[in-house]
């Protein structure tokens, strides 16, 4: 039988998405996003190191809607990867593998990352408002 005629196992699109699989791939996606997002950290540090004018232009970019969108994506990715990473560390210790716990921890991660993202932005805007 030629290689291309061999039967293939069903691919991703065949399976119904489940919380566990969706969170798993989201962990990877947010990890990649955060790796790219380190450019924001480097830029912020360099702008600060270059002096007040460079720092002011970095701040202006953060205030722009594109900067806001990037920072919002970065904040969510960070909190998701942090929370789900802790979930992974428990798995590494051999805990929480049964279906019920895996789903409970999964929902906890999903809700916690949204709440932490929103909470951080509300706090940041409160800081900004108090400074004015």
């Amino acid at each position: 039988m030629a290689a291309q005629d061999r039967p293939l196992s069903p691919h991703l699109q065949i399976y119904k998405p489940q919380l566990t699989s969706v969170l798993s791939i989201t962990h990877r996606a947010t990890g990649i996003a955060l790796a790219v997002g380190t450019l924001l950290l480097v830029w912020w540090l360099w702008a600060a190191a270059m002096g007040p004018e460079a720092y002011a232009s970095a701040q202006a970019f953060c205030r722009h809607w594109i900067g806001h969108l990037l920072l919002l994506g970065w904040t969510f990715s960070l909190f998701f990867h942090l929370c789900n990473g802790i979930r992974h560390l428990f798995w590494d210790m051999g805990r929480g593998f049964d279906l019920k716990t895996a789903y409970a921890s999964g929902w906890t991660v999903a809700i916690a990352s949204v709440v932490l993202t929103l909470g951080s932005w509300i706090w940041a805007y409160a800081v900004l408002g108090a400074a004015r």
Binding site: I32, A49, L78, L82, G85, D92, V127, L128
Partner: protein, 126 residues
């Protein structure tokens, strides 16, 4: 039945020839990043909209600079370890895979070193 040689057992590196080094380094940096990331996010939120002088004063504190350098090291080490796994999983051409892994590792070292230099410059700015 144990099929491995005694030398192989002593080395403990398995068929991948690298043992658990990569896995372990990723976990250690993950654990270190939990407190470091929480500290960094809180610090950045407190500095929202603050003038340049406030950032200089913040990083001028030796404790802040220490945590910042540790955060940079753990972040870029963790990131390149993670990206390596992603590349190994999804990029099948041997040449492309090797080139991408080298690129990611060099980029992590470049960006990490650049970040440390910027942080140290700010630390000693005063």
């Amino acid at each position: 039945m144990m099929r491995r040689t005694q030398l192989g057992r002593v080395r403990g590196l398995g068929s991948a020839k690298s043992g658990t080094g990569h896995w372990w380094a990723q976990r250690l940096t993950a654990i270190a990043l939990i407190p470091l990331v929480i500290w960094f996010v809180v610090s950045v939120i407190v500095l929202t909209g603050a003038p340049h002088a406030a950032v200089v004063a913040w990083l001028g504190n030796p404790l802040t600079a220490t945590l910042m350098v540790l955060l940079i090291f753990a972040t870029f080490h963790h990131a390149q370890l993670g990206l390596q796994v992603v590349i190994e999983d999804y990029v099948h051409g041997e040449g492309t895979r090797l080139a991408l892994i080298v690129l990611v590792k060099f980029a992590a070292i470049l960006l990490g070193t650049g970040s440390v230099i910027a942080a140290l410059k700010l630390c000693f700015a005063r």
